[in-house]
Symmetry: C2
Subunit: 156 residues, 2 copies
């Protein structure tokens, strides 16, 4: 598995919040996100705390509170979410798990892996939250097992 569950949930939640942001509703309660995406509320809370700790989101307690991005979703790349939750190891590590990739003597897989690894990094680096959220809305794609963007926005 490329990304941890926590990271996947964090990305999906980020895409939901980004979609709401475009609807001029920047502050969203975590409960709403967890309900809509069918995620554990408490688990998601912890994950989103990592995003606020990383400065990607801000939070506000109390009625009408919630979470929101600190910057415009068009300026936030997916890799920032990945970095805040899983870290950047995926883009630095040896595919064979050997320590000191890039410093020490390479392993036989190095050249091929370095190329592939970079493609993965570029994918996350070149994709903004806004881009995916917009595309999701335009094409009514899904953010959950059976729930598409239309479903999500309908009852927002």
């Amino acid at each position: 598995m490329l990304l941890s569950k926590a990271c996947i949930y964090g990305i999906r939640a980020s895409l939901y919040v980004a979609a709401m942001h475009e609807q001029k509703r920047p502050f969203v309660p975590i409960r709403e996100v967890s309900d809509k995406l069918e995620l554990s509320f408490h688990f998601l809370t912890k994950i989103l705390q990592q995003l606020t700790a990383a400065g990607l989101m801000k939070s506000y307690k109390g009625p009408n509170g919630g979470i929101a991005f600190t910057r415009e979703p068009k300026d936030i790349k997916l890799i920032e979410v990945v970095s805040a939750i899983d870290g950047l190891d995926l883009f630095k590590e040896c595919v064979l798990g050997l320590p000191g990739c890039g410093h020490k003597q390479p392993c036989p897989f190095h050249d091929k892996w370095a190329t592939t690894r970079e493609a993965i990094e570029i994918m996350f680096n070149a994709t903004s939250l806004e881009e995916l959220a917009t595309k999701g809305k335009r094409m009514n794609l899904r953010l959950s097992a059976e729930i598409t963007m239309d479903d999500l926005l309908k009852t927002a």
Copy 2:
């Protein structure tokens, strides 16, 4: 992490056995592999059993026993080792963990991920054990934290 530890150990062990195969020493005791690569003998045993169960290796008990590939390492692709241990989910799954990738409505990440995922699959599909083992020998690359091919072959 792209591959599980079990899968990583399985690949590293396979590369060692492939290198020995080229030295006209097809049957290698598991203990030798675990010692050379600094892996847990029992853990590695279980992993290699998956490779024999998958028909990739054969084993022989008793003195001078060990494991060996059933086919020439030049005809065995890395993806076969990955498949036997981690399965092929990595090459089929949604990057966002949604079920039914390819059948159900896609997620917003789909197009980019499908491309990257294919690059990963090609990497494992287009690389043979022999290729990496030979390259490792030729360039004295490492198969363990501090142990290069030369070290491994020297005391074989």
